[in-house]
């Protein structure tokens, strides 16, 4: 490639990334603005953060979200890993059925999935709250864990399993001592992904929240609709920090499961 087209490439990519990140950065910027309007910049302040920390409702919503996200991520990690391992041991037909069903929550638009669960849980007379939130969130998280662990399983060198067999290991032993340790990094990465997706979900949570269990995104969404103060910006900025901590955590957990950011591409 010649210099001219190289320059165009750099220009195009830079421009693209500026547009990609300016909206995010402007939210952060205005969280430090004294004025509550975006019309002018009236000086630096941390007042909005102070207000945020004194807001009980937001704190409660945050607690619900964290609780739901942690439970969802553990539940999805267990179910998704189990389903991936089980499906390679099952017949080909069963494996295909499981894979097909796993795609359903990914291809049905979230609104439709939300409505279907709303109808289902109200028919069962299940009270809406943490339980319904965790179950519904697990539905769109389990498929990712399943897919990511399945990809990892396909990479495993079959001779390792055969060696274990030759040495007299039973199926359970093989799963416990060979397969699980090998897929663990993928499971961890996928469960972090589940954590992030659960923390971010607006649509399904809107239908699944109970009167006393509003999640943070649902609350932020209603704040944004009513009219916004930079308190929302401050909240979003803290959220962003939390996200970066999560990614940093993943980078340190290990590189075997693949980069957390790149893994999300299967979504």
């Amino acid at each position: 490639m010649n210099i001219k087209s190289n320059r165009f490439r750099t220009l195009y990519l830079s421009l693209f990334f500026i547009i990609l990140y300016v909206p995010v950065l402007s939210v952060v910027l205005y969280s430090f603005n004294k004025s509550s309007s975006t019309a002018y910049w009236s000086g630096f302040t941390l007042d909005w953060y102070k207000q945020l920390f004194n807001d009980r409702v937001i704190f409660e919503a945050f607690k619900v979200s964290i609780q739901v996200a942690l439970l969802t991520s553990v539940l999805s990690a267990v179910i998704g890993t189990a389903s991936a391992i089980i499906s390679i041991y099952a017949t080909e037909k069963t494996e295909k059925t499981i894979n097909g069903l796993m795609f359903l929550p990914l291809i049905v638009p979230e609104v439709a999935l939300g409505i279907s669960l709303l109808i289902f849980f109200s028919a069962l007379k299940l009270p809406f709250g943490t339980l319904t939130l965790v179950i519904s969130h697990s539905l769109f998280c389990v498929p990712y864990v399943h897919i990511m662990v399945q990809l990892r399983l396909k990479e495993i060198d079959i001779s390792i399993i055969e060696a274990a067999k030759d040495l007299g290991a039973t199926k359970t032993q093989i799963i416990k001592t060979v397969i699980l340790p090998l897929v663990m990094p993928s499971t961890l990465t996928a469960s972090l992904l589940a954590l992030a997706m659960s923390m971010d979900d607006v649509i399904i949570s809107t239908y699944m929240s109970g009167p006393a269990t509003t999640t943070l995104p649902v609350h932020i969404f209603s704040m944004m609709r009513v009219g916004v103060t930079p308190k929302v910006n401050a909240l979003c900025t803290l959220f962003l920090l939390g996200t970066f901590l999560l990614i940093g955590l993943n980078q340190t957990i290990g590189s075997k499961g693949g980069n957390v950011i790149e893994q999300k591409q299967i979504r």
Partner: protein
């Protein structure tokens, strides 16, 4: 017998999926054929009214609106995203992984935050208007919020990483020797691109389009925050019917309509990529 034993552990997984995905979706289908009384209680009587109402001109317009939004989102993300994917694939190893990280990073940032960012930029007293007025390019704020284009911008912005990564995976797999062969045979840059690169990356384009189209139909918080009440889309409509309107049967019928649109797109996708073994989510 051996087969049954082999499949036994799969039962709980199948049960989990069938009970929590299959049955609820089946309930939606059933409910879409029922009606409700004035209080919002469901009446168990078969009716096709909910589906008939879909053909009211008001609702047809909503369908059209959503369909156009999803199609345009697909096209915009394709035209902006293709060069990004193409250029990225040509970078050296180190820069490339950095660039891919930058493309994927927004996925991890709250989607509400990313939507809200646009209303800060595009609002009447937003950043863009302020800058333009400061530079004396305009003297009155431009009205950029609450339009179809605003929703389109927000939706395309939200979903473009899917498109880029799908195309990138195809471009990355491209056999470079084919390109060299084309150059050797005197094919120009553009000719090579249109005759070789583009057709070979078609599966990536189709996959990206599908991955962008499906969520674009239903991301109602974007149209709520950026479209105001001026533009009704399928997602908002269904959401309003189910929550404020308390008309679950009607909401169900529209949800089925939405799922049918998705199935149509998936059908087209499977046709386009018939000879290709890549699956949608890999």
């Amino acid at each position: 017998m051996k087969k049954i034993k082999q499949n036994l552990p799969a039962l709980p997984i199948l049960a989990y999926l069938i009970i929590l995905v299959g049955i609820p979706l089946l309930l939606v289908v059933i409910l879409s054929f029922l009606s409700r009384d004035n209080l919002g209680n469901i009446i168990f009587e078969f009716t096709l009214d909910n589906y008939k109402r879909m053909f009211d001109s008001v609702y047809l317009k909503v369908f059209l609106n959503s369909f156009l939004l999803a199609i345009f989102t697909g096209l915009i993300t394709l035209f902006i995203g293709y060069p990004v994917a193409y250029f990225t694939a040509g970078l050296n190893q180190k820069t490339r992984s950095l660039v891919i990280m930058l493309i994927m990073l927004p996925f991890w940032i709250s989607s509400l935050l990313r939507t809200y960012g646009w209303s800060i930029l595009l609002g009447n007293d937003g950043l863009i208007n302020n800058i333009l007025m400061f530079l004396n390019i305009i003297d009155k704020p431009l009205n950029m919020m609450y339009k179809f284009g605003t929703v389109l911008t927000g939706t395309a912005y939200m979903l473009i990483p899917f498109m880029i990564i799908s195309i990138y995976n195809s471009v990355d797999k491209l056999d470079r020797s084919l390109l060299e062969a084309s150059y050797d045979l005197g094919g120009g840059k553009w000719k090579t691109f249109f005759n070789i690169t583009l057709p070979l990356t078609m599966p990536g384009i189709a996959r990206g389009f599908t991955l962008v189209f499906i969520p674009a139909l239903g991301l109602y918080f974007i149209s709520d925050l950026l479209g105001g009440g001026n533009n009704m889309f399928l997602g908002n409509l269904i959401n309003n019917m189910a929550t404020r309107g308390r008309n679950r049967p009607l909401a169900s019928a529209f949800a089925i309509g939405m799922i049918l649109l998705v199935l149509l797109v998936l059908f087209i996708y499977s046709r386009v990529t018939k000879n290709n073994k890549e699956s949608l989510y890999q």
